[in-house]
């Protein structure tokens, strides 16, 4: 089959399939679950950088949002609390919060929405005692999806703040 015929066949198939826009029924992997119970630091003492690897709460660096929302859901209160404590315990520590959205809507508006989500987490950390100069917010909008399918389970994974420690 030569190229012309092949492309023609594809073109006809496209017509038949109403522009090839058939929905794919692909199951996305479930979003990683946030720990529901927090392992408190083993001592009453301050966090150390080692805890970033060993403490179940501190190892959680992502929180999720509802569609078009930027409020921190109560299920993530413990995540906010332990990272705020880390920042309080380690005044030299610095973090970048990366705000992200799902693909729905326009790219530039989603930059704004991602920033709003990043700011929401930054405010919560500051309210819990972290210092504003320890936290930087960057919005990536919809530009850094972790899942690329067009369905809610995928979108849910993408509506997130990522916590990145730049100085531990």
């Amino acid at each position: 089959m030569n190229a012309t015929v092949r492309v023609s066949v594809v073109a006809l198939m496209c017509l038949a399939a109403a522009a090839c826009a058939k929905k794919q029924e692909v199951k996305a992997p479930p979003p990683p679950e946030a720990p529901t119970t927090t392992t408190a630091p083993t001592t009453e003492g301050a966090f150390t950088p080692a805890d970033l690897q060993s403490n179940a709460c501190l190892r959680t660096r992502v929180i999720y949002f509802d569609f078009d929302k930027s409020d921190i859901q109560s299920q993530f209160d413990n995540i906010v609390a332990c990272h705020a404590k880390y920042l309080r315990d380690r005044p030299m520590a610095r973090m970048t919060i990366e705000g992200n959205t799902d693909e729905r809507g326009t790219r530039e508006y989603n930059l704004g929405l991602g920033e709003r989500r990043g700011n929401a987490l930054a405010s919560a950390l500051e309210a819990a005692g972290a210092s504003a100069d320890q936290i930087k917010v960057v919005s990536y909008g919809e530009e850094r999806p972790v899942c690329r399918e067009h369905n809610e389970s995928c979108w849910h994974q993408n509506r997130r703040d990522n916590i990145v420690y730049t100085t531990e």
Partner: protein
């Protein structure tokens, strides 16, 4: 008897597929999704060769044909049905073309010498047997396809009464690979997708390309520094400068019609606000004062006001504010979500992304018809409408399965063509201004 619509669609698809093989080699393919039976029938006879020089390296008649088909206003006779091959008006046997139900016929001949192409062409009205155009167009070197686009523009203008926009360029962003292997490119191509040239490459996201009014520069947003920053780059020389890399969002650049100011959305003062930047001094004039997301500023053609997206009422809607500042007026009231406006050259039509539930489509609001709105795309995740400079067509981005593709659609939404990259994701189309021949 009217030929069934599906038959026309079939003919268009085959025709498009025929052209597509050649276009595919260039990176983009064109497919006509649905044709229009009311399109004007026109024959473009393959051009003859003048003089004893080498043959033209480009098939002028084929390119003209493809342009006319693309815009949805014409339907060209397939080459296999072009039964005679006149190259001058005096050779045209009008009875033949009347029998084939053609309204117009284009004939011509080329001469090619030392890299310069000269095309003489004539446009005739078949029924009146009257010559409408007789012109000679020349082109040099790598711009030979432009000769054909300029001929198509002349034909379009003569028959439709509006300047043609085939001899224009488009910009878009491509992405291949995922995650850390992602490669982004900002590409400039002819309006039919040929001659793609990469303007800039990046491992981080590129978005929101915007043409300068003279077509020589592109403003865009790049994340290559780790945060959004706005650049202006000269297309021909590749030289570029950062115009905003402030803390927070640096987004949504748009040149003013006079080319001296750039409207942007910046969040360094706390949340995204619209500013007008003087490109000579870099000075910022803040236009909006609100805790909402204010972004996607678009100058009206007279430069007197700016239409932008704001969620100050809860969900994103379009607002208009004087370019010198003032009180914004909301201008969209249909649909839950309206954003990413593109304003036609005459200011009458505003294309936008309109979202209802999980369906995002391109809507066109006609301000000269009291804000009447029509959808010109089927959804579900359409974005980034961009008018051709004559508002005959729109480009927009859509998702098909896992990848992004571009569509060109006629202003009435009746004819759509898909422009797809062979590989990867295409998004963020921006239709450039008219070019001077």
């Amino acid at each position: 008897m009217r030929m069934p619509k599906i038959l026309f669609a079939l003919i268009f698809a085959l025709l498009a597929a025929l052209f597509a093989t050649q276009a595919g080699a260039q990176g983009l393919t064109v497919q006509i999704v649905n044709g229009v039976p009311s399109a004007i029938p026109i024959t473009v006879v393959p051009f003859g060769q003048q003089g004893s020089g080498p043959a033209s390296p480009v098939d002028i008649a084929q390119i003209v044909s493809m342009d006319l088909n693309r815009c949805g206003k014409f339907r060209t006779l397939p080459t296999s049905e072009v039964v005679e091959s006149p190259t001058t008006g005096s050779q045209v046997k009008f009875a033949t073309w009347q029998q084939l139900k053609q309204d117009y016929i284009v004939v011509g001949r080329t001469s090619y010498d030392g890299g310069a192409l000269k095309a003489d062409f004539e446009l005739w009205d078949v029924n009146k047997q009257q010559q409408l155009l007789g012109l000679s167009i020349t082109g040099q070197g790598s711009d030979l396809r432009r000769v054909a686009h300029q001929i198509a523009d002349q034909i379009y203008q003569k028959i439709i009464g509006v300047r043609g926009a085939f001899d224009t360029r488009i910009a878009y962003v491509t992405m291949v690979g995922l995650g850390d292997n992602a490669q982004y490119a900002l590409v400039v191509a002819d309006s039919d997708g040929y001659n793609p040239q990469t303007v800039v490459r990046s491992h981080e996201a590129l978005l929101s390309p915007a043409w300068s009014p003279n077509g020589q520069e592109l403003a865009y947003v790049s994340f290559e520094s780790g945060n959004s920053a706005i650049y202006i780059q000269n297309i021909a020389t590749g030289s570029r400068r950062v115009v905003s890399a402030r803390a927070g969002i640096n987004g949504a650049p748009r040149f003013a019609p006079d080319g001296r100011r750039l409207a942007v959305s910046l969040s360094f003062q706390g949340n995204p606000e619209i500013y007008a930047m003087d490109l000579g001094t870099g000075a910022l004039t803040r236009l909006t004062h609100n805790l909402a997301i204010d972004t996607e500023p678009r100058w009206t053609p007279d430069g007197a006001s700016v239409v932008f997206t704001s969620d100050r009422s809860g969900k994103p809607q379009l607002y208009e504010i004087p370019a010198s500042g003032g009180t914004p007026q909301r201008i969209t009231f249909q649909g839950q979500y309206n954003a990413n406006a593109s304003i036609s050259y005459d200011g009458k039509k505003i294309a936008m992304v309109q979202g209802n539930g999980n369906v995002y489509r391109i809507a066109v609001m006609d301000r000269s018809l009291g804000g009447q709105e029509t959808f010109v795309s089927p959804g579900n995740l359409d974005d980034a409408p961009s008018w051709a400079p004559n508002a005959s067509m729109l480009l927009y981005a859509a998702n098909e399965g896992p990848r992004g593709v571009l569509y060109a659609v006629s202003a009435d939404g009746r004819v759509r063509q898909r422009l797809v990259l062979g590989d990867g994701d295409v998004r963020e189309p921006a239709w450039g201004p008219y070019r001077n021949p």
